[in-house]
Each structure stands twice: as C-alpha cells, then as structure tokens.
C-alpha cells in the first residue's frame, strides 16, 4: 500500500538521491577530530593491555622449558614438546572427557533452569515477594565453593541432616556425597543452588526490556499466558539467550576448579579430574609451568574456535550473535 508522504524524506533517502563524495581524512586529521573519544578509551585499553594482552603474551612459555628464576631468554625453546607430553599423558583424555561431560551437563540442565527461574520471577506480581525470592535464589552465588560443599555435606552427607532424619524413620544413610555414580547429579544440584540465581538476574534484565504494551495487546487479542510467553517473552530474550549460549560454548573447557578439587577425595580422581585440576596436579604442583601453559593454550584455542563456529551458526540462523554481521 502506497503511503502519502507528508514530510521531507529521511536522511538516507536524501543521501541516496544526492551522493556525497567522501574525502579520505589523514590519520592526523582523524586524531585531531577524535582525540576526546580516543582519550576515553585509554583506561580500557590500559586495563586490557595490563591484565589481558601482557599476561596472554606469556603463553609463549608453552614452547619453552621455562623457569621463573632464569632470565626470559635463557629459557630454552623446546618446540611442541610440552604439547606432545600433554597429548601423550594417560590422564589428559579422561580429564578432557570429564570436562566436556560436566560442561554439557551444565549447559543442558542449568541454562534452562536460569531461564525458567527468570520467567517465574517475572510472573510474580508482588514486588516484596519478588525481592525476597530473588535474594534467596541468588545469594548462594556469592558463597565460596568451600562453603557450598561444606553445606552440602552437612545436609546431604552420610552423617548429615537428611541422613539423620532417614535413620530416625528407620531408613539407611544417604550416600550421595561419596558416590561417584551420582556425582553428575550432585554437581548439578550444587550448580543449581549456587549459580542458577545469578543466571536468572541476567535473563531478568533482558525480560525488563520487553515492551509491556506487547503483552497488553496480546491479552486484549485473547492470547493465553502460555501464548504470551511463547510469542512475546521468549523471542524478546532470544538474542540474550544466544549471546550467553555462545559465550558458554567458548568456555566449554573451563568448568571451574574448586568444586572438583574439593570433592576429589570423596568421589575419586577419575570422576572429578577435569582440565583445571589436571593442570594443578600435574603441572602447578610440580612447578612445570610450561606444561600447564600448554594445557591452558590448548583450552584457549579450542574455546576460540568454538566461539567462532557458534557465532557463525548464530548468524546463519538469523541471530545477532556476539557481534553483528558485516
């Protein structure tokens, strides 16, 4: 349907109608023009350089037989010897598989839980109730893993609260804290308690950006609560879901350290050995920093590839991803 134009055409149309010949400015001109903006980026650049790029440059020790007590250039280059040792280590592949297992379990079970919690919170009308619920749910995020594991032992341990109830009712003690076969479930319980609330906060922020008039219009049109969620809420937070998903995939080989290290003796090293504990026990504890760096570099390269692939897939599916398509 053709519309009657009552105002001047938009700037883009004018530009199309009357092409502008752009003069290429010199670097000096650009610097004079943009210096306030450039100045504002200096703190961020300095922070990145100091805490990211400078430490990252030390990845080069993965190719050296490095000792912190030699001057840098006295450390001999050993090529890919540490990588060869890494891939030949009989404990590397099990650690990698465990890492992937816990990472995917986290992705499959925790990610949707955070979204579900956010939706639940979003539907709570009472501000007071929402505030209390929100505090209860996301407070454990600030607890250390030591505290989380200790609390779980006190509650779910064989001599914990639940076990003693069961004994009181003539049952047996619960064995979940030291049973390797149920560790994935236990880990999920711990993630859910500790981290789901934090994930919820991010999705809640995304939910807040959805225009309320869309819900009102849908309600007037007779859309049920489920329909509104399916056609308004979820599409509204989809870019954030995709963004977080891609970032999560990039971190797929980093599942944390403390949770697994603290429960190593309880359920055994074969169950809890992930890449980070592998690096600690086989590299840091024996001062083989180059070996640990090689493992870290391996994680970083895999993470980068996964992020790029996931981002590409997101673009193919019409999503924005972590940066816009050019």
């Amino acid at each position: 349907m053709a519309a009657i134009q009552t105002s001047s055409p938009p700037a883009a149309s004018r530009a199309a109608a009357r092409p502008i010949v752009k003069r290429k400015r010199t670097v000096g001109q650009r610097l004079r023009h943009d210096w306030p903006l450039l100045l504002m980026t200096v703190p961020a650049l300095a922070q990145l350089a100091l805490f990211f790029y400078w430490p990252s440059s030390w990845n080069i020790i993965a190719f050296m037989d490095y000792s912190p007590y030699r001057s840098f250039w006295e450390n001999p280059f050993v090529g890919f010897a540490w990588f060869e040792r890494l891939f030949a280590d009989p404990y590397f592949v099990p650690a990698l598989l465990n890492t992937l297992k816990y990472s995917f379990a986290n992705l499959l079970f925790l990610f949707p839980l955070s979204i579900a919690l956010a939706l639940l919170m979003h539907s709570v009308v009472s501000t007071k109730l929402r505030s209390v619920f929100q505090s209860i749910v996301y407070l454990p995020y600030f607890f250390s893993w030591v505290l989380v594991v200790t609390i779980f032992v006190q509650v779910l341990g064989a001599d914990g609260m639940v076990s003693n109830w069961l004994i009181g009712f003539g049952g047996d003690r619960l064995d979940i804290m030291s049973d390797p076969s149920t560790f994935t479930f236990l880990a999920w319980l711990q993630w859910a308690w500790k981290d789901a609330g934090w994930g919820m906060i991010i999705f809640l922020a995304a939910l807040a950006s959805i225009n309320p008039s869309l819900y009102e219009a849908a309600a007037v049109d007779g859309a049920s609560r489920w329909r509104r969620m399916w056609h308004i809420t979820l599409p509204g937070i989809r870019p954030v879901i995709v963004l977080l998903l891609i970032l999560h995939i990039g971190n797929i080989l980093s599942v944390g350290f403390e949770q697994y290290q603290l429960q190593r003796e309880a359920v055994g090293y074969q169950t809890t050995e992930v890449l980070d504990t592998f690096v600690y026990y086989r590299a840091i504890q024996t001062a083989q920093y180059s070996f640990g760096t090689a493992a870290g570099l391996f994680k970083g390269v895999i993470g980068l590839v996964l992020i790029l692939v996931a981002n590409k897939v997101a673009h193919r599916l019409g999503e924005q991803g972590i940066y816009q398509k050019s």
């Binding site: 440059s57 490095y66 001999p76 280059f77 341990g157 030291s178 086989r282 024996t286 083989q288």
Partner: protein, 562 residues
C-alpha cells in the same frame, strides 16, 4: 555492538587477519628456533651438614634445669614445674624500624592492638612488627604464590611440612630469600647469644645451595625454628570413652581393629575413626615420607612392599565394616570438634593435640582425656614409630631488605629464642600477667579468656626462632604423660636413612606419587579393589617411580658415605 564505520581504516576481518598472523608468528617462533629437550624437574639432593660458614656454637647457660631428664633426641627432657622467670636477653638498643612478617594462624587472628603485641614491642626495644596472620589451613599452598609474587612482607614464618607443597622449594629459597651467610657465620654470640646457642645441625638444616650439585654454592637462608624431638603426631584415643565401654588401650593392630568394632555404633552416630592416612602406615612398618626403605641391598618404595597391601587391606576393612565416619572422604569435617563431641573414638593428629585437649578440659570446653596409641605392629612384626627428623621450620627474610634491617630482624629472632624459664619466653608464650594469664596454685601460668584468644591460640612469635634446647613444657600431667610415652616408644623410633640430607624427588615422581595417593584413596573408600594394587605399582614405577629410585639411591649412598 557497533561495526566499524565505512570510513574506518580498521575492519574486523583485518583485525582477525592481523591477530591470526601475529598468533602464527608467535607459534612459529619456537618452531623456527632451535629446539632442545625438556631438562627441568630433575629433583635435588642437598647436604645439611659439614659446613664451615655456620654460626659458631656457644653454649648458652639455661636459667633452669629440667626435673625430668630424658635421653635426647627421641626422648626429650621436661619440666613439671614452672621456674621463676629471669631475664634472658640484654635490653636491646632502641629501634623504630617497622617490619611486616607473615605467620600461619589457625582460627581467628588476634587484634593488632592487643596489649600482647605492645608489650613485646616494648620488651625488644621498640621495633614495630605487624604480623600478617594467614590461614594455616591453606598456608602451605597459598604461600607458593606469595613467594613467587614477593608478597609476604619482610619475612615469612614457615613450618617444614609446608614446604612439601612447594614444587621446587630449593629454587624458591635461593631466589627469594635473603642470604644470611655473611651476617651469621662465625662468632655471633656477642650480639645474638641465643642464636649462637642453637644446635649447629639446626643451622645446617637452614642451608640451601644455589646449585645443589655444587657444595661451594651452599648458603644459610633461614633462621631455624625449634628442633622438636620425639614423635610429632599420633593416633589419639579418647581414653575416657574407651574406659566407659570397658575397653583398654590397644597394643597391636589386631586389637585396634577389635576395639574399633566394639565401639562403633552406626545407628547412634559413633565411629572409631576419622582419617587414617598418615599415622597408620607406621603400624605396618612402612617408611615415613618420602616413603623409601633400604631392603636387601636396594631402595624399595612403600608401594612395592607386601606391607603396603596389608595396610590397604586394613583401611579397606575399616571402611567396609563402617568403622570410619562415613563423611570422612569429603574432607570437610572438623576432626577436633568430632573428637571432643565423642563422635569419633580415635583421631590422628599432631602431638600438640594432647596438650590442647587437656587445656580444653581444664577450661571446660571438653571432657575426658586423650592419649596416643603406642608403638604397635601387625601380625607380630616389630613396630616402628615415626619421629621428627629435622627442625620444625624456618623464618626467612626478604632478599630486598638491607643488611641493617636484617640485623635488626635477627635481634628480634634472638629475643624469640629465649628458653623456658626466661621472662621473654613467658611474654611470648603466655602474654602479660594479669591481662592474659595469672599464676595458678602450682605456679604455672593459666590463660584467662583474653589470653586464650590472643596468645594461646595464635602462633605469632612462638615459632619465629628455635630455642637453645627444646623441652617438654606446660601442664605437668601432660608433660609427665608425654615423657613416659616417649620413653616407651623411643626404642622403636624410625631410622632416618637420608640423615644429613634434604632430598627432593623429580617432578615426574611427584606426579606419579599423587596418582598413587589418588588410587590408594579409591581402594580405601571402596571405589577400587585390592586386586588393582599390582597395576597401581606398575603405573607408579613406569611413570616416575623407577627413575626416582636412582635419584634416591644416589642420595642414600651419599648419606651413608658409600
């Protein structure tokens, strides 16, 4: 996120390309460069005796003589009475320098404003010291990072066992700490009579070499702590609970098992044991750390011996029969609290738990009594008892200090070395009379609440430097009991086959040993079968154990003068 404008000279793809080229360049460097084999992580062997640059030993006249005379080293003498304290150190010159020293602390650190610290500062001439009380439970592991980052202040107080967590402590010491040799060598008795009175072998154990293979590079890097003698830990039994159950102290491993079976009551929440890992190996005749014994003409690791299987069988039996607290593997339980509560009958602990428990009983925080199991064996085998082999630890100074600062710190160390029976010892170990303690009827200082919190519970200056001679001191009943206990086990004290050396195994051996510990835990807690032991041993030997045998054999030959 905004994309670069059309006019921008920099595009994302250009950035990726540049980053890619840079990364390829960095990755290519080492390939282009001439490569060599990995040579680090070979371990070290350090001699700790025979040096000519140590402080000249000068006998320091003790202010009081012990009434219980033992047979050192494994049966130290003791005091069952408290001597009238005398001045042990001449008044130091007034000083106003400020130092920061990192010390371990188990529990809540005392306030820096406590009169204890003010009194000590006045007593040693005004030098202000701020103690950084770092969590003792994680001190060993976290100190690795502080030392690498030079973030431990002007000095650090470390116990010897903490250095096991340091991947290459020899390298750390010679690169991080002040080389004291030129200051402390020869006659130092004029300025530091108490440091000069410390045993020469304590100073010898404070020596590290820049190059362990070259004796000429050996230097003094630390001020030694006490050389505590006799057993350093034990399996403590609640003797009152044992008597209540009509049981008696076990004298063999078989009796330990029988007592555990009779006492444990799973439904009532009572178990015989908590952790068993570092005390029970001696019951089976296994060697203490580093776990090597000389048998039939060669060095044999614990895991290669039949006793190792028997030890794991014992631990597995305890687990399978429910004699161990079921949450033990989680490592989160407070062993002291469970022992006090009577939830567990036996608790492996440091020997100081004996006195600590007794003090808690006296202050009403606990009931009953504890005592360690003696030297016991399995199936009639000759028992052995692990004993302390070296100084308890050291205080190391920061290498960035000036010589004058180091000398002033040595003044403080000299003060802290004051022996039992001096006013300095009393101040450091009990605090200020009236504020932290009062003399009891038997003349012994008794802590009040403030003293227990600020002085009794804190390490502070107590282990800063060793005393000229170490005695059993404290509660007379505990001293008497420990004296008798030491007498009963001294003949079973384990012989140190590496005496006079400090041996650190190669990196691969440490990794293999960690795997062995993990696999041991699997057996002990029912996750693997005893039949997997031969595979464990084979893995251990092939992944670093066999190479380590050569390293430790060389050390053994050096120690034995072969």
């Amino acid at each position: 996120m905004a994309t670069p404008s059309d006019g921008s000279n920099i595009r994302r793809r250009s950035l990726f390309k540049a980053a890619g080229i840079g990364a390829a360049g960095i990755a290519g460097l080492p390939v282009i460069a001439a490569c060599s084999d990995i040579e680090s992580g070979g371990g070290s062997t350090q001699s700790t005796e025979g040096f000519d640059f140590l402080p000249t030993h000068k006998e320091y006249e003790l202010p009081a003589q012990p009434d219980l005379v033992g047979e050192p080293p494994n049966h130290p003498s003791g005091f069952t009475s408290y001597p009238e304290p005398v001045d042990g150190v001449e008044t130091a010159e007034a000083a106003s320098t400020e130092f920061e020293i990192t010390v371990p602390m188990w529990g809540t650190p005392p306030s820096a404003d406590d009169p204890y610290f003010t009194a000590i500062q006045e007593a040693w001439g005004g030098t202000k010291v701020t103690l950084r009380h770092a969590d003792g439970n994680t001190f060993a592991q976290t100190s690795v990072q502080w030392l690498q980052a030079n973030e431990y202040g002007d000095a650090i107080n470390m116990f010897g066992w903490m250095t096991d967590s340091h991947p290459n402590f020899q390298e750390t010491v010679v690169n991080t700490f002040y080389d004291l040799t030129d200051i402390v060598k020869g006659d130092i008795a004029d300025r530091w009579p108490l440091l000069a009175g410390e045993p020469t072998d304590s100073w010898g154990q404070s020596v590290w070499s820049t190059d362990p293979a070259d004796p000429e590079t050996a230097r003094v890097f630390g001020v030694p702590q006490n050389k505590s003698m006799g057993p350093g830990n034990g399996m403590f039994v609640r003797t009152d609970l044992l008597a209540d159950a009509g049981l008696s102290m076990p004298t063999t491993v078989e009796e330990v098992l029988e007592v555990a079976r009779q006492w444990t009551d799973n439904a009532a929440g009572k178990w015989a044991f908590l952790a068993q890992d570092y005390v029970t190996p001696e019951w089976f005749g296994l060697a203490s750390s580093p776990g090597w014994a000389y048998i039939d003409g060669k060095l044999v690791h614990n895991c290669e011996r039949p006793e190792y299987t028997k030890w794991l069988e014992f631990r597995r039996t305890c687990w399978d029969e429910g004699l161990i607290h079921p949450d033990t593997p989680t490592g989160t339980l407070d062993g002291h609290a469970l022992h006090i509560a009577g939830t567990i009958l036996m608790s492996q602990d440091g020997i100081s738990w004996w006195a600590d428990y007794t003090n808690k009983v006296l202050s009403g925080e606990a009931v009953g009594a504890v005592a360690p199991i003696g030297a016991i064996g399995f199936e009639g085998a000759e028992p052995i008892r692990y004993v302390n082999k070296a100084v308890d630890g050291w205080t190391f100074f920061n290498k960035d200090l000036s010589e004058d600062q180091v000398k002033e710190l040595l003044d403080l160390m000299n003060f802290c070395s004051a022996p039992y029976g001096t006013k300095e010892y009393e101040l450091i170990n009990y605090g200020v009379e009236g504020t932290h303690f009062a003399y009891g009827e038997d003349g012994l200082p008794v802590f009040n609440e403030a003293g227990t919190a600020a002085v009794g519970a804190a390490v502070s200056y107590k282990c800063m430097s060793g005393q000229v001679q170490t005695f059993l001191t404290g509660n007379p009943d505990v001293v008497q009991a420990r004296f008798e206990y030491n007498a009963s086990v001294k003949d079973f004290a384990e012989t140190d086959i590496f005496a006079g050396l400090r041996v650190e195994g190669p990196a691969d051996y440490k990794t293999a040993a960690q795997t062995l510990i993990d696999q041991q835990n699997d057996i002990c807690y029912g996750r693997a079968e005893l039949s997997s032991i031969p595979d464990m041993v084979e893995t251990f030997l092939s992944s670093g154990g066999e190479a380590a045998r050569e390293h430790f054999t060389n050390a053994y030959n050096q120690a034995q003068g072969n």
